[in-house]
């Protein structure tokens, strides 16, 4: 049931990518979809009443959440940072060449 939140977030991002014409809004949609996937990974690793898998002094941990999806998501965040920087750089270059972010006006590819 709680996974529905992630599905809704993914749908919002997909709507943003498919319907919007502004290039910056498309980039934001891709970022939102990425976070929806990160969220569902973290939820898969959750265990009821579990706590963060961090060892600390004078405390015994009996019930902890799964740390593996957290490591995967940390890597995914790093890769997301790099792809976001690439997308923004491409958007900036397109803006200087065409003077607009509207994807229906960016169509002088031939020649």
């Amino acid at each position: 049931m709680v996974y529905l939140l992630s599905l809704v977030l993914l749908a919002v991002g997909l709507y943003c990518v498919l319907v919007k014409r502004n290039l910056i809004k498309i980039v934001l949609g891709i970022i939102i979809m990425e976070y929806a996937v990160n969220l569902i990974f973290i939820m898969f690793g959750y265990r009821t009443d579990g706590r963060a898998p961090i060892l600390s002094e004078s405390q015994e941990i009996t019930n902890m959440v799964d740390p593996l999806p957290q490591a995967v998501v940390l890597t995914a965040i790093v890769i997301g940072l790099a792809t976001t920087a690439l997308m923004v750089a491409i958007a900036v270059r397109l803006y200087d060449r065409y003077g607009t972010f509207d994807i229906t006006k960016i169509r002088r590819l031939r020649g």
Binding site: A52, I54, L55, S56, E57, L74, V78, L81, A85, V88, A89, V92, R93, D96
Partner: protein, 150 residues
């Protein structure tokens, strides 16, 4: 930091002048405690880079680039990657790749107990911090350079 008239308003500049040092020190703390508490090279390097980006947003690009120019950021990024590789290769001297060669067993919750792991964290923080700052500088310079040619 001199008043150049570029950048944001006086309020933002004053707040930045107070907080930017604390942000930098917090980033260094996260890096050095990476083997004991959550955080580590990536998160700490990100916070270090954000302190310089904060400086650039408040005071304009010239002030930040005078402290860390784009060639210096490039140099630190390369040093970070090479430092990581060197420490990993030194492991061969005692046994195998990525060997943690001067920690016998390690003591939990002691700061100087983890052998080479803090050194790896420092290398990663150099790479990530300089790399993120270089990405930001590249986007800013791309924008101003293209504005200059038109």
């Amino acid at each position: 930091m001199t008043e150049t008239g570029k950048g944001m308003t006086l309020i933002v500049k004053t707040v930045t002048r107070i907080t930017v040092g604390f942000i930098l020190v917090y980033g260094i703390y996260i890096v050095l405690h990476g083997h004991l508490s959550p955080g580590g090279g990536f998160a700490g390097g990100l916070i270090i880079a954000l302190s310089f980006i904060h400086l650039m947003l408040a005071f304009g690009k010239d002030v930040a680039l005078k402290r860390v120019s784009e060639s210096v950021a490039d140099l630190f990024e390369s040093i970070g990657a090479l430092l990581f590789l060197c420490i990993a290769v030194i492991g061969f001297a005692a046994g195998y790749f990525l060997l943690n060669f001067f920690a016998d067993k390690g003591a939990p919750f002691a700061l100087f107990s983890a052998g080479t792991i803090p050194l790896y964290n420092i290398a990663i923080s150099l790479k990530v911090g300089a790399g993120l700052f270089a990405v930001f500088v590249a986007l800013v310079l791309l924008k101003t350079r293209s504005k200059g040619t038109e």
